[in-house]
Symmetry: C2
C-alpha cells in the first residue's frame, strides 16, 4: 500500500519555505518502486532528496547480510543531504514512491549560499539528534521498550494516534536491532495489554498513550 495521505512534515525536517519552493520548482520528480535503491552506500553525495509520497528507509549492510536501518523518511521530509562527500547508508523506497531530486549545487545557487548552509546544518543536526536517540534505544532498551518507543515515535512524527505502517516487520526489526519474531511477540504483548490496537498487520491505533510512553521510558 502506498503511503499517500497528506500531512505537514515535522518542522525539524522540513525545508524552509524558500528552499522548499526552489526544490519544488527545480527538482526532478522521480518515482521508485518498492525496494528500489535511491542511492547506494559509498555512492557520491551531490544530490538532495525530498519525499513527495510514499516512504524511504536508509540502511547499512554488513558483509554477512545483517542490516541496520538508520531511519525512515515520510512525505515532506528531506534526506540524503547530511553526507559530506559520500553516503554511509544506502536509501531505498519502502513502497512505491515519488521523490523530488535536486542537485545540491543547484539548490545552493538558487537558495543562496548562506541559506543553503544553514539549511544543511539544521538538517544534519536533526539527523544527529535522532541518531543519538536511536543509539540509546539500541544500546540500553529492552525489546518491549524498543517497540513501544518505535510506535510512539512514529505516531508523534505523523502527528496522529492512528497510523498505517509503511514498512513490514523485517524493516521494523532491522531498525530496532531485533528479529521479526521478537517484534511480533512484543506487538502481541502490547495488544494484550490494551495499549495499542491493530487492524491487520499494518494499521494501528494507540489506545493508551500514557502507558505506551511509560513503556518506552
Amino acid at each position: 500500500m502506498i503511503q499517500s495521505q497528506a500531512f505537514a512534515a515535522p518542522a525539524h525536517l522540513a525545508l524552509d519555505a524558500g528552499a522548499d519552493d526552489v526544490m519544488a520548482r527545480m527538482g526532478l520528480r522521480m518515482t521508485f518502486a518498492k525496494d528500489e535503491e535511491i542511492y547506494g552506500q559509498d555512492e557520491d553525495a551531490d544530490l538532495i532528496y525530498r519525499v513527495v509520497s510514499g516512504a524511504v528507509r536508509t540502511s547499512r549492510l554488513m558483509s554477512d547480510g545483517r542490516r541496520q536501518i538508520g531511519d525512515f523518511y515520510y512525505p515532506g521530509e528531506m534526506f540524503g543531504l547530511e553526507a559530506v562527500k559520500q553516503h554511509r547508508f544506502s536509501a531505498e523506497a519502502l513502497c512505491d514512491c515519488v521523490i523530488l531530486v535536486l542537485k545540491a549545487s543547484a539548490l545552493r545557487v538558487a537558495a543562496g549560499e548562506t541559506a543553503y548552509d544553514r539549511m544543511v546544518q539544521v538538517a544534519t543536526n536533526s539527523e544527529l539528534d535522532r541518531t543519538q536517540d536511536h543509539l540509546l534505544l539500541l544500546g540500553r532498551k529492552s525489546a518491549s521498550e524498543r517497540v513501544a518507543s518505535f510506535l510512539i515515535g512514529l505516531a508523534d512524527r505523523r502527528r496522529s494516534d492512528a497510523v498505517t505502517l509503511p514498512m513490514g516487520r523485517q524493516d521494523m526489526a532491522d531498525y530496532l536491532g531485533l528479529t521479526i519474531e521478537t517484534v511480533s511477540r512484543m506487538l502481541t504483548q502490547l495488544q494484550a495489554a490494551l495499549v495499542v490496537e491493530f487492524a491487520g498487520a499494518r494499521q494501528f491505533r494507540i489506545a493508551n498513550r500514557a502507558a505506551l510512553a511509560r513503556m518506552a521510558d
Copy 2:
C-alpha cells in the same frame, strides 16, 4: 592515570589551523577531576571544548539509571559543538584532565563566520558518521564483535597498536551496550586467542591486527 602522551588528533576531529590557534590563544584552560561534569544533559550549548590532556566521555542517562555513552574524546579533539541549542548528552572527565573552553560566539567572531560555519559543519558531520557506525555496532553486532570493534577503533584513533585505556570496564560496557562482565569475558577470550595482549587491565597491544579486524567485521 592521566592520558598525557602527545599525538596528532585525527584530521576529522581537529580544528583547522586558524581556528585551532584562535582557540589556544583565547580559550580558557580548565581542569576537571575524574568523573567531574563538564556540561550537563539539556544544558545550553554556547561553549565549545577541546581536550588538551586526559579524556572525556559523553553520556545520556535513562530515568532508572541505565546509561549510554555516546563517544570518547582524546587530546586534540573537539567536542560539544554539534549541539544546535541544547546538549542531548552530558560530558564528563574520564580522568583528571585539562580542557580548553571557548565561547562559540567568540570563535565565530575571531575565526570569521564562514570559517566557523564550515568548521561546525565538518565537526557535526564527523560526529554523525561516528554515531552511525556506533548504531550498526549496537544494533547488529555480537558482544565479541563489539569489543573487537572497540579495540581496533581505539587503536586506529590513537594511531598505535599499543594503547592505554583511559576508561574502566563500566565505561566500555556503557559504550558497547553490554555489562562489565560480558566485556571482561570477551577480553579474556581475545587474549586466549592471542589476538590482543594485556598488561594489567588498562594497557593493551594488538598482537594480530588482521584477526582482530576480521572479528570486528
